[in-house]
Amino acid sequence: MASLFPIFLVLAITLGLMSASFLFVRKGPNQAVIRTSLMLTFAVCYLTWMVTYLAQLHPLMVPTFSAPPAHTA
């Protein structure tokens, strides 16, 4: 059943991954770059997935075809 639960679940996972990358990237000349890149990557990937999922949760229109489509569910 379509619900908002997956959104929060994946949000929690993303936040966990972001914290992990913040805490566990080892010190070195590239620490800031690796940390920033990883955290930002997780954040934006989550955002785009979340928006796509949310847009299809309670759709306001149905797909219509000119001829019955040969679809497998």
Binding site: T52, A55, H58
Partner: protein
């Protein structure tokens, strides 16, 4: 603060250092620091004419040597057969530091001038010999052709005689008369023979006819082979002419006319035997000349080959020496103590490395007096230095193109490493196309070392420089491709779709199960697919845009802390954030909320968000209950509007008010602001005593300073804040709309991809005949080329540009200050390329 770990977040800490370099070790020190590439020297003699600087003589000598190497390069280029030039990394190195360095450079100078004189003499003699060859060839042609004329004239003597009766007598001498006519050879007419350019022949004939009133007989033939001028490689075609006439005056006139027309006259004997002798002599001389020419050519080539073996290392040495002496010219020369004083910017972290380099230089040069390094306190703004590696340098470069960050400002390049490929990918999302550019990037990365050495040309060179950017762009594009469910305009059915079509209907029925990752494949091919995806992509663009702008706005805060202007957080940051969020943050929340509501179960039909936003401004507080998104909406919207309304005067007035209060405090206490002072020459001599025999790091001298302190005029603050307020408030609206390009480009990309498929491969993928297979082959080839050329390259460049614009304008305007100057250390590394 000097023990904070440097990163790409902001510029590294830079120190101004003073170097005291004894003259003996000066050259080697600069050489060592140039190899290190970590020191940016300041010009301590800005008012001195370049021709009056201390090392002008050495630079002149090196310029001479550079000119000679350029001459060698040009000569090698001109050789028809390629002369092999040994590349730099295979040449034997020339040692230019150490006790014997001056000798090495002198020897190099002599070698270069010797080679130059040898080459010049060889070239000159080659030139002269070619000239001679040409003249002799012309003479040979003339001899041959005139032989033909004379022979012809013999056989025609009878004809001439018969047609001219008595009046023919003046043309012929008494010889023929005596012999009764048709005798061979003794054709005692005087004549002039020579060569002339083919284009001039008709003019020549006409002029002669007019001048001599027809009293001449002229014959001419083409010379088949053209003459090639060795210096200009131009071809000229010439003709041989022979003019028969009688009388000295007439002949003199002919000669004058011929010379004025640029003809060359050759002395030809009337006697056939003598002509044969002359021909033989000419042939012999020609053969000799050819041999000499050939040998000269061989000699020249062997010289060039010898030069080619060491040319690159000579050019390298000359370039380095020139840089070293130019740098030494920037130093201050203290004549009394025979030391040179230099000021330079170095990254604070590298101070130890530089001191080691200085010590190394002293050891190399064999002296025992080391240069001394001192750190200085200064209020001047240091250069901005972001230490990048091969991965980050591309991203830093594209953000630096907008403007160099101010010293110690938050560097937008760090975040661009992720946000730039991401915004690109939102506009480019296609698994197949992303994969293609990913492969291109991986190929360039795997062949990094080889490609870096060769000259790739401007265009490929640019792509190569950004190979890591392209790599990230490819990876993100594959991800967004999965989200848009687009693989070369086809969809993937990775999971169960959320729509079914019971009983073969044309309208889908929602199963209640949302497609878990990306766009549902049921939309592919639907007649209203675009309506749905447009709505989805437009809203996503707004959501991503507002979040990007909020993020960029928050980057202001570390800058306010670092530059010790905490009040700016309250006067600038908070009103800006509140303004942005109360209007556009609210819009984003409404978008997300509207999506999360099941409108089939709601008594209200789903309201249009655009109308909602417009009525929020036009009719504040009034919300039609039939069109409300949530209960209490009217009150909430009025509050938000009020907050936004308050923020504008807050942003406009608070900072000028604080500045005004500050100004009153200082003038009230009786202080008067100083004008910008002139440059005071701080006596460096006063620091000499403290430096004698001292170790590094002890004495701290105050550097002389130009007054960099801007007069913080109250008027300036007011004007600046007015501009800032207007820019920000209007910018909020226009920039939010600007993010809709994310939707526009991804729509264009998807449509192009679909059209390409339908026009080429659609319907041909199942060939039923040979013709079908051929069609598939041709169309497939066309599809592949257009995919790479239009969809990957053209669309890729377009999306690159738009993503960059979003970073530069929408992103940077929220926090970027700029105005820094880049750290440009003395470095020999980048110099090896040009001649």
């Amino acid at each position: 603060m000097s023990d904070e770990y440097p990163s790409l977040l902001r510029s590294e800490r830079m120190s101004l250092v003073q170097l005291f370099v004894p003259t003996e070790v000066a050259h080697d020190t600069v050489h060592e620091l140039g190899e290190l590439g970590d020191v940016q020297f300041k010009d301590l003699n800005p008012s001195v004419n370049p021709f009056q600087r201390s090392f002008v003589g050495e630079i002149r000598r090196i310029d001479d040597m550079a000119r000679r190497t350029r001459f060698f390069d040009a000569q090698i280029e001109k050789e028809k057969d390629v002369v092999p030039v040994r590349p730099l990394y295979e040449c034997a190195p020339l040692l230019t530091v150490g006790p014997r360095s001056a000798q090495t450079v002198d020897e190099l100078d002599t070698t270069l001038s010797q080679y130059e004189s040898k080459l010049t003499t060889l070239n000159e003699s080659y030139q002269t010999l070619s000239e001679r060859t040409r003249e002799l060839t012309e003479a040979r042609h003339v001899l041959r052709e005139t032989a033909v004329f004379f022979d012809k004239a013999h056989t025609q003597t009878s004809n001439i005689r018969s047609s001219f009766d008595d009046s023919a007598t003046p043309l012929l001498t008494s010889h023929d008369d005596r012999e009764g006519g048709y005798s061979a050879g003794s054709f005692d007419l005087e004549f002039v023979a020579g060569t002339i350019e083919r284009s001039r022949v008709p003019t020549f004939e006409r002029v002669l006819w007019r001048v001599l009133r027809g009293n001449l007989y002229m014959n001419h033939t083409d010379i088949a082979e053209p003459f090639i001028d060795p210096s200009t490689n131009a071809e000229t075609r010439k003709n041989v002419f022979i003019i028969f006439a009688h009388g000295d005056v007439v002949l003199a006139k002919i000669r004058k006319v011929a010379e004025s027309m640029g003809a060359t006259i050759f002395p030809i004997d009337a006697n056939a035997d003598k002509r044969a002798d002359a021909l033989r002599e000419v042939e012999n001389r020609l053969e000799d000349l050819q041999t000499v020419l050939y040998n000269t050519g061989i000699g020249r080539r062997s010289e060039l080959v010898k030069i080619g073996e060491s040319l690159r290392v000579w050019q390298d040495v000359v370039k380095k020496e020139k840089l070293i002496y130019e740098t030494l010219n920037l130093f201050n020369y203290d004549v009394r103590r025979k030391t040179l004083i230099a000021e330079a910017w170095v990254p604070t972290r590298d101070l130890t490395k530089i001191q080691l380099a200085l010590r190394h230089a002293t050891e190399e040069s064999g002296t025992s007096v080391p240069p001394i390094l001192h750190e200085l306190q200064t209020s001047k703004t240091p250069p901005t230095f972001h230490r990048t590696n091969k991965f980050t340098e591309g991203f830093q470069a594209i953000m630096d193109s907008y403007g160099i960050s101010a010293y110690q400002e938050i560097n937008p390049g760090l975040f661009a490493i992720t946000t730039f490929p991401f915004l690109f990918a939102v506009m480019f999302g296609d698994i197949g196309h992303g994969f293609i550019i990913l492969i291109a990037a991986v190929y360039m990365i795997l062949r990094e070392k080889a490609m870096a050495k060769q000259d790739n040309g401007e265009i490929i060179g640019q792509f190569f420089y950004g190979r890591y950017i392209i790599l990230m762009m490819g990876l993100f594009s594959i991800y967004t491709g999965f989200l848009y469910n687009d693989l070369f305009s086809k969809t993937l059915h990775l999971f169960h779709s959320g729509w079914t079509f019971p009983d073969n209907s044309t309208r889908g029925v929602y199963t209640g199960h949302t497609y878990p990752f990306g766009l549902d494949p049921a939309w592919h091919g639907a007649t209203n697919a675009l309506v749905f995806t447009n709505s989805y992509k437009m809203k996503m663009s707004i959501v991503l845009g507002v979040i990007h702008m909020t993020f960029a706005l928050c980057l202001q805060v570390p800058n306010h802390f670092r530059f010790k202007r905490k009040s700016d957080i309250y006067t600038n940051f908070i009103p800006q954030m509140l303004f942005l969020q109360s209007i556009f943050g609210y819009l984003v929340l409404c978008i997300l909320y509207k999506w999360s509501v099941d409108w089939t179960k709601s008594p209200v039909s789903p309201p249009s968000l655009l109308n909602m936003l417009i009525t929020m401004f036009l009719e504040p507080g009034k919300v039609d209950p039939e069109k409300q998104l949530y209960p209490g909406q009217g009150f909430v919207q009025m509050v938000l509007l009020g907050i936004a309304g308050v923020c504008v005067p807050w942003l406009l007035i608070s900072k000028p008010y604080l500045a005004w209060r500050e100004m009153h405090k200082t003038t009230g206490a009786g202080y008067v602001t100083l004008g910008n002072g002139e440059e005071t020459a701080i006596a460096r001599h006063s620091t000499d005593e403290t430096l004698e025999g001292e170790e590094e790091g002890n004495g701290r001298a105050i550097a002389e300073g130009d007054e960099e302190h801007e007069g913080h005029d109250f008027g300036d603050v007011v004007i600046h804040q007015i501009i800032h307020t207007i820019e920000f408030c209007l910018g909020c609206i226009s920039h939010t709309a600007s993010y809709l390009r994310l939707w526009a480009l991804s729509l264009a990309h998807a449509q192009l991809s679909e059209v390409l498929w339908s026009m080429t491969l659609d319907g041909r993928t199942d060939p039923k005949s040979i013709g079908g297979w051929i069609g598939l082959g041709i169309m497939g080839f066309m599809w592949l080329n257009l995919t790479i050329g239009i969809l990957c390259l053209m669309e890729g460049l377009s999306a690159f540009l738009h993503a960059l614009r979003l970073h530069w304008v929408e992103g940077n305007s929220k926090h970027f200050e700029g105005g820094g100057y880049p750290f440009a250390p003395l470095s020999f590394a980048g110099e090896g390329k040009e001649a």
